[in-house]
């Protein structure tokens, strides 16, 4: 499929690539108000399919779906963010040499974050690894369900981050850089592609209803991208969205009457502003808000799911119910056309369940059972519905942990190596990519940076990371900033390998 850029009228291109408002675009296109209304009607009727008009290209100021640079294998992303820094050598990256020399002084000086690791003593994993599936990928006994679907995972053992503190590394993973308030991955993707379902947000966040993870709402920041690309929190308990329902109960019919009067008053007034598309957009928004009330309701209503499905996600067990509910909601969202779902782990005090500075063994034994079964269930369910091919599932923390012991029984932060799991969306199943040194301290083979990961994810969504930009402060800002970060698409991770320079 050729790039839509080739046919682009240059005058329209400048209006459409981010500097101009939608109003500018519409007026410049000489369609005026009529054109906007027409576009809305077509869209509502499903006539304005993605890939339609040749004046479209990635990036826009609204949420309507638009094509990428090329035909993508994947349409949506589910990011399972494991805040805190899961320990690679206890979960995904077995290190025989580390086991052999456990308790001995490590010869290499390692970079630690907090005090407690001064002895530089190697700490072997207290957990056993086994070869799994046909691919023989090794996964720890801590995650039996995720291990049972080893043939679905594309595992990267050679990730690294730019910083070994939580907020900076979380930003590196989510935005590509350690600095605050750049747009997050989900915001970029929503900006680039819009979303398939206009009755739901493009970018949904499913956090633990008991609270926020470290970093709070900054994890789904829109940065300097327009505000509608910010992640919208949908609650897995109580009301699905903020202000979805009236604060006080009113008799049936009251709100409908209000909306009717509002539409009449707004329409009368709009007649005085024949040139303002904003006013029409606002009128439409009230209709959309009403539809959203119903759509979001349906998302939360899991009563239509069979007992077998509920069991698959662990909804029948109080241990897995919290995370499983959100995994099931994530599948329903992807099914309904949501572009990007960011799902957060169950939190405990401090908001970082994977942050085992002490008591590595107990800590991992506490968190793994909460997420293991629902994660595997999500992959299996997506697969049986034929959704896995078009959905990228990503399981990752912000960094890894050190091979030496902290306080005798824990591990400190490690920016030099962590492991990450991908599934679906055209990623190579049953594949292990890259390797760390013999202690798991540093990624040494086929290293993958966060910007490399982003470039590869964008590629699978049909986007060329070097050409997806937003005009900000006089600069063509890109998610991966390739000239500075050297980001490139990691072709070896993909089913249809690409060679990209």
């Amino acid at each position: 499929m050729s790039s839509p850029l080739a046919n682009l009228n240059p005058a329209l291109a400048t209006q459409w690539t981010g500097t101009g408002s939608r109003r500018d675009f519409l007026q410049a296109s000489t369609l005026g108000v009529g054109g906007l209304a027409l576009a809305h009607l077509l869209q509502t009727d499903g006539l304005l399919a993605a890939g339609g008009g040749d004046q479209q290209q990635p990036g826009g100021t609204d949420l309507r779906p638009r094509p990428g640079h090329f035909k993508p294998p994947a349409k949506s992303v589910i990011m399972l963010f494991q805040t805190g820094g899961p320990s690679q050598m206890d979960l995904f990256d077995p290190k025989p040499e580390l086991q052999k020399r456990s308790g001995q002084q490590h010869l290499e000086e390692v970079e630690s974050f907090q005090p407690g690791s001064q002895d530089n003593t190697l700490l072997g994993s207290p957990f056993k690894f086994k070869r799994r599936g046909e691919c023989g990928m090794e996964i720890s006994e801590l995650l039996p369900n995720m291990a049972s679907i080893a043939d679905e995972w594309c595992m990267v053992r050679s990730m690294f981050s730019d910083n070994n503190n939580h907020p900076q590394a979380t930003r590196c993973l989510n935005t590509g850089k350690i600095f605050p308030h750049r747009p997050s991955l989900g915001a970029w993707i929503s900006y680039a592609l819009g979303t398939e379902n206009q009755n739901l947000p493009a970018y949904v966040v499913l956090r633990d209803p008991d609270g926020y993870a470290n970093g709070g709402t900054t994890l789904w920041d829109n940065g300097w991208l327009p505000a509608q690309f910010r992640g919208t929190e949908i609650q897995s308990r109580g009301a699905a969205m903020l202000n979805l329902h009236p604060a006080q109960d009113t008799p049936p019919g009251i709100q409908r009457n209000n909306l009717e009067l509002l539409a009449q008053l707004n329409e009368q007034r709009r007649q005085r502003y024949p040139l303002e598309s904003d006013l029409l957009a606002r009128i439409r928004n009230y209709e959309l808000a009403a539809r959203m009330q119903q759509s979001a309701e349906r998302l939360l209503d899991l009563s239509g799911e069979t007992a077998a499905i509920r069991k698959l996600y662990g909804l029948d067990d109080p241990v897995t119910e919290n995370y499983g509910t959100r995994c099931l909601m994530a599948r329903r969202m992807v099914e309904l056309g949501v572009r990007f779902v960011q799902l957060l782990v169950p939190i405990k005090a401090g908001g970082m369940p994977w942050d085992q500075h002490n008591n590595l063994k107990g800590g991992l034994k506490a968190i793994c059972p909460l997420i293991d079964k629902p994660t595997a269930g999500l992959i299996q369910d997506l697969k049986q519905r034929g959704l896995l091919d078009s959905t990228i599932v990503m399981w990752t923390g912000e960094f890894g942990r050190l091979p030496i012991s902290q306080h005798g029984n824990g591990r400190d932060h490690n920016r030099h190596a962590f492991s990450l799991l991908l599934a679906g969306g055209g990623f190579k199943p049953g594949h292990v990519h890259g390797a760390t040194d013999e202690f798991g301290y540093r990624s040494v083979e086929s290293r993958v940076s966060c910007p490399d990961l982003h470039a590869t994810l964008l590629h699978q969504l049909g986007l060329d990371h070097t050409r997806l930009y937003f005009q900000h402060a006089g600069r063509e800002e890109r998610l991966t900033d390739p000239e500075v970060t050297g980001a490139w698409v990691v072709g070896e991770l993909l089913q249809n390998e690409v060679s990209v320079g």
């Binding site: 202000n243 009236p246 009251i254 509002l262 502003y273 040139l275 928004n285």
Partner: protein
């Protein structure tokens, strides 16, 4: 004190403590107590007249001290030591430092390499003096930098009043930015601004009393000859090239030259403050401690009612809310209030469904719609037309036309009927119906846009 060292001791004591050499430090340490003079010793040497003056001055000092007010803690930045070395970063990467560089200004805004080096005078500063040097450079109208700062400031004030600046890219006056629509006007205003001592209020007054600011944003259909149909069946726009505004519309469709006022959506804070003003609850006191916000379990950021300085503080203007990094009041962030921890040159004025949901369902809006209804009732009693007229005047600053009165009267009757059917008293039903009307007026586009 032995004669030979007297001059040296005096010189040591006269030198600022951080500038003394090793010998002077030693002398001061050893001998400062020996040469110190106590207050009592001074008193003995004073005349009666001088003593009386001292007593009277001390009395006045004590009196002034009583007028002192305490403002609590102030967060400020100051130097904690000599500035660290700065290096040129290769390819912008902090991991690959290049040669060390001295403090200086943007070369492009300086007339020579020489002028680009910061001239730092640390005399009497107790700091690196760098920020003062920067401030002086930025506000010196004789340099390209000062002239640029003046234009940028004027442009931002213009942007605040008109929605878009004379330079539409406020953070970029460079080649990558957009050229000014009215370059001479920008120069003239910048000149007035600097001449007037960089004072903002006279500039705001000058602009707001101008003809261009006082234009209407409305366009009569007859004037442009455009037929717009309705939302369901929009007609193609046709413009009458004979009419004055029709010509304007055809030659400047984006209204860049301001042939009419722009329709501007209210900023987040103004939306909230306008709701409070409409309900009659706005607490207009100036100054004082800020109002804290808190994040509820459901994720909504609301005012922390457990820590209010006074009962009505929660209804203070939005500028008095305390913002922490990324935690803005939900009511404000939904209307594009930017995060406080990042720079924002121009706010979004989005129209997204979450704004509609907020205005329809948020408890703050519903609560104030109730106060608004009571205010209307108090003013007009039970007369339906009177109520509708009063509600329009309060919320939209105009009287409704006949069609609007008819629509609203019908709505009032319908809503009251529904409430009566739900089992509430007639009086209560009528009040609730009025509150629904008031709530609906707060939702109108007209309320959210400055016309």
């Amino acid at each position: 004190m032995p004669e030979p060292i007297r001059d040296d001791v005096k010189a040591a004591l006269d030198t600022a403590h951080d500038r003394r050499n090793q010998v002077q430090i030693y002398l001061v340490e050893k001998l400062s107590r020996a040469v110190a003079v106590s207050d009592d010793e001074v008193a003995i040497g004073l005349s009666d007249a001088n003593l009386a003056t001292i007593v009277s001055l001390e009395g006045r000092i004590a009196k002034f001290n009583q007028q002192r007010r305490s403002w609590g803690k102030i967060q400020a930045l100051f130097d904690v030591g000599p500035p660290p070395a700065t290096f040129l970063l290769k390819r912008g990467q902090y991991q690959t430092p290049g040669p060390q560089v001295a403090a200086g200004f943007l070369r492009v805004l300086c007339e020579s390499d020489e002028a680009a080096l910061a001239k730092i005078d640390r005399t009497g500063m107790g700091s690196s003096g760098r920020r003062t040097a920067l401030a002086r450079w930025l506000t010196d109208p004789e340099t390209p930098a000062g002239a640029l700062v003046a234009r940028v400031m004027v442009n931002r004030i213009w942007q605040h009043l008109f929605g878009t600046g004379l330079v539409p890219s406020p953070e970029n006056f460079g080649n990558g930015g957009e050229p000014p629509t009215h370059p001479e006007l920008l120069e003239w205003l910048s000149h007035r601004f600097v001449k007037g001592g960089w004072r903002i209020k006279p500039l705001v007054k000058l602009i707001m009393t101008s003809g261009v600011y006082q234009q209407t944003s409305q366009v009569r259909i007859a004037d442009v000859g455009v037929s717009i149909g309705n939302a369901a069946t929009p007609a193609t726009a046709r413009f009458n090239p004979q009419s004055k505004l029709g010509v304007a519309r055809l030659t400047d469709p984006e209204n860049k030259l301001l042939w009419r006022m722009r329709l501007r959506r209210l900023e987040a804070e103004v939306v909230r403050d306008s709701i409070l003003a409409t309900s009659g609850k706005l607490d207009t006191r100036a100054g004082g401690p800020p109002v804290l916000v808190t994040t509820r379990a459901d994720g909504k950021v609301v005012i922390d009612e457990s820590k209010l300085p006074t009962l009505t503080s929660k209804w203070r203007r939005s500028v008095y809310l305390l913002y922490r990094r990324a935690y803005n009041l939900s009511m404000l962030s939904v209307f594009d209030q930017p995060l406080i921890s990042t720079s924002c040159a121009q706010r979004d004025t989005s129209a997204v469904p979450l704004q509609s949901l907020t205005m329809l369902n948020d408890e703050f809006v519903a609560e104030h719609a109730g106060y608004f209804a009571r205010r209307v009732q108090k003013r007009t009693g039970d007369d339906t037309t009177g109520q509708i007229t009063a509600a329009f005047r309060i919320a939209l600053a105009r009287t409704p036309d006949n069609d609007e009165v008819a629509l609203c009267a019908a709505a009032l009757a319908r809503q009251a009927e529904l409430y009566r059917a739900s089992g509430v008293s007639n009086e209560k039903a009528r009040h609730q119906a009025l509150a629904e009307l008031c709530h609906t007026l707060l939702n109108t586009s007209e309320f959210l846009y400055a016309e």
